[in-house]
């Protein structure tokens, strides 16, 4: 994708964000806003719900797409992302732990606990990958999905025992309808981390060439792995704490961008962030419109789009993505 297309793509995303501001149960129209016909209630809906929701969508979308990219570079596998590597499930276990032990923790502390859990889970995943000989690239996401399954089984068991299944259920499918002013700001932490990822983009590209190449070029492979692990876990935890699981995003977006423009992250990360934001906006708008006045959670819409895309990757492009 040539650089000159970036601006139009950015404008398109901004347009999607504007649409997202004015779609919902209560009709708030941009024209009323400017003509002064909008009443106090309209303004409140806009500022307390729509604006936070839209910002959250943009930040979560770009964050998860970039987290997925970094995971793929670290695991050197195209099929890995936070929801196929145990990262998301570990964050869920962390959330449950908070609910059980200290339910009144401030949201930032909840996020940190979830981040610590997801970091441990992802590190476990990466060390399993190192320990077992992998004959096939498909083994990697399978190992991740199995690990995730085991972790979420533990979560479900305790949630069941302590009657918390319902709270965990709400978390399991990403839903931005719960996002309100005062309950999404933690996502700015995810945003700061995606900026950090961009600053370190070249290091992640080199790490994506493997340990031997990295060492040859004088890059401390372990340090970069750790940095990547921190970014991926924190971003995932921020998103999971605010909106729940946003699946497959980190799989679709990085793969499409990589097919078109390759993996030099210095060039591709801005695109990945932008496309991630746009895709989540689209899926969320679809979820709001398709069955109005009811909503389909964005996690469900993405789940359908994402699993179809995953199948397409597995079947159609086996030769290339290997």
């Amino acid at each position: 994708m040539p650089p000159k297309l970036f601006l139009p793509a950015l404008l398109l995303t901004v347009l999607l964000a504007l649409v997202s501001l004015f779609v919902g149960v209560r009709d708030v129209s941009p024209f009323d806003l400017f003509s002064g016909a909008a009443d106090q209630r309209d303004l409140m809906v806009l500022l307390a719900s729509r604006v936070p929701r839209t910002i959250a969508l943009v930040l979560a979308g770009s964050g998860m797409a970039i987290a997925g990219t970094i995971m793929q570079m670290l695991a050197r596998n195209r099929f890995v992302e936070p929801s196929t590597a145990g990262t998301v499930e570990s964050a869920g276990l962390g959330m449950l732990t908070v609910l059980l032990i200290a339910p009144d923790m401030p949201v930032i502390a909840k996020m940190l606990v979830a981040a610590a859990f997801s970091m441990a889970g992802t590190a476990l995943f990466l060390s399993i990958l190192r320990a077992i000989p992998l004959r096939s690239i498909l083994m990697v996401p399978l190992v991740g999905i199995m690990l995730g399954g085991m972790i979420s089984a533990v979560t479900t068991f305790f949630a069941y025992r302590f009657d918390l299944l319902q709270s965990m259920g709400a978390w399991a499918s990403g839903d931005f309808s719960v996002v309100l002013r005062g309950r999404y700001e933690i996502l700015w932490v995810a945003f700061a981390l995606t900026i950090a990822a961009y600053v370190a983009a070249d290091r992640f590209t080199v790490a994506g060439m493997g340990e031997a190449f990295s060492s040859n070029l004088g890059l401390n492979y372990r340090k970069v792995m750790t940095l990547g692990l921190i970014i991926v876990s924190m971003v995932t935890a921020c998103v999971v704490v605010t909106a729940g699981v946003v699946p497959f995003l980190g799989l679709i977006v990085p793969n499409v961008v990589s097919m078109i423009m390759g993996d030099n992250l210095r060039r591709s990360l801005p695109w990945i962030g932008l496309c991630g934001a746009a895709l989540v906006l689209v899926c969320d708008i679809i979820g709001r419109v398709i069955n109005a006045p009811f909503e389909i959670p964005v996690g469900a819409v993405l789940g359908i789009v994402g699993s179809l895309f995953f199948l397409y990757l597995l079947i159609g492009r086996r030769n290339r993505v290997a």
């Binding site: 793929q72 994506g208 060439m209 340990e211 190449f213 040859n216 004088g218 890059l219 390759g262 210095r266």
Partner: protein, 251 residues
């Protein structure tokens, strides 16, 4: 100078490199030859600190490779291993530019770009420079990797079977390029080779390994001899003098 002393490595119970002590002089082209499983690649990886050693030390220009920081060594010594498989999709230019990473840390200067252009030119990659590596043939990809290492512009360059996947004309061009780097640019080039005759025609120095040990070393005239080669490879060899080169046949 690369000083290898008492270096050993085992995988499980198999000893692959067994107490090798070896000094590779600065400058010139050194070939490492030997049968399969002789420990050539393992030794080379340990010299370039890609593999930890079980015993011994490797000193490059006075620097202990296991102790000096990675980015200092990356400006003195580079290595290309065999079987390079990248999951990351990079274009030829991207890959070669990353050869400048030790200097530029990802922000190439004008001078870095000149190095990149020169390396691409040396390896005849101009026509493919914007192609992705996964869209190239094995030989073209191998040349792109070599260009990256060349671009790293280190005093010591190690190549593990650089002729892999190359056809005859590109193999000859590659060996000429290595010799030119050694003679004209004063680089120290160390290559693991399987083709005895390339080793014979292009090397200044040949190191023979067998069963994890240093078996013999010397000039091509010392090593490329009927009785010596026959013993190394346990195969009947005949050595002919042709146009000033010693050519071995074994067919």
């Amino acid at each position: 100078m690369i000083e290898v002393s008492g270096v050993s490595k085992s995988y499980g119970k198999t000893l692959v490199v067994d107490g090798v002590t070896l000094a590779l002089p600065k400058g010139g082209l050194t070939s490492i030859i030997g049968p399969n499983g002789a420990g050539k690649s393992t030794l080379m990886s340990m010299i370039a600190r890609l593999l930890p050693m079980d015993a011994g030390t490797v000193i490059v220009d006075g620097l202990d490779v296991t102790k000096v920081s990675g980015d200092v060594l990356a400006k003195r010594l580079s290595i290309l291993r065999q079987d390079n498989h990248l999951t990351a999709r990079l274009t030829v230019t991207d890959l070669v530019t990353f050869g400048r990473y030790p200097y530029s840390k990802g922000r190439p200067t004008l001078q870095d770009r000149e190095h990149v252009e020169r390396a691409i030119d040396y390896l005849g990659l101009g026509d493919f420079r914007h192609r992705f590596l996964d869209e190239l043939s094995g030989g073209q990809r191998q040349r792109a990797f070599v260009a990256m290492v060349l671009c790293q512009d280190t005093d010591y360059m190690l190549f593990d079977e650089p002729l892999n996947n190359l056809d005859i004309s590109h193999s000859v061009a590659m060996m000429k390029l290595m010799r030119k780097s050694a003679r004209e640019l004063g680089k120290t080039v160390v290559v693991v080779l399987h083709d005895i005759n390339f080793a014979s025609c292009y090397s200044d120095h040949i190191v023979v390994m067998r069963d994890g040990r240093l078996f013999l070393q010397g000039s091509p005239t010392d090593i490329v001899r009927q009785e010596v080669l026959s013993e190394i490879y346990a195969t009947e060899f005949r050595v002919h003098e042709l146009d000033g080169n010693r050519i071995a046949t074994f067919y």
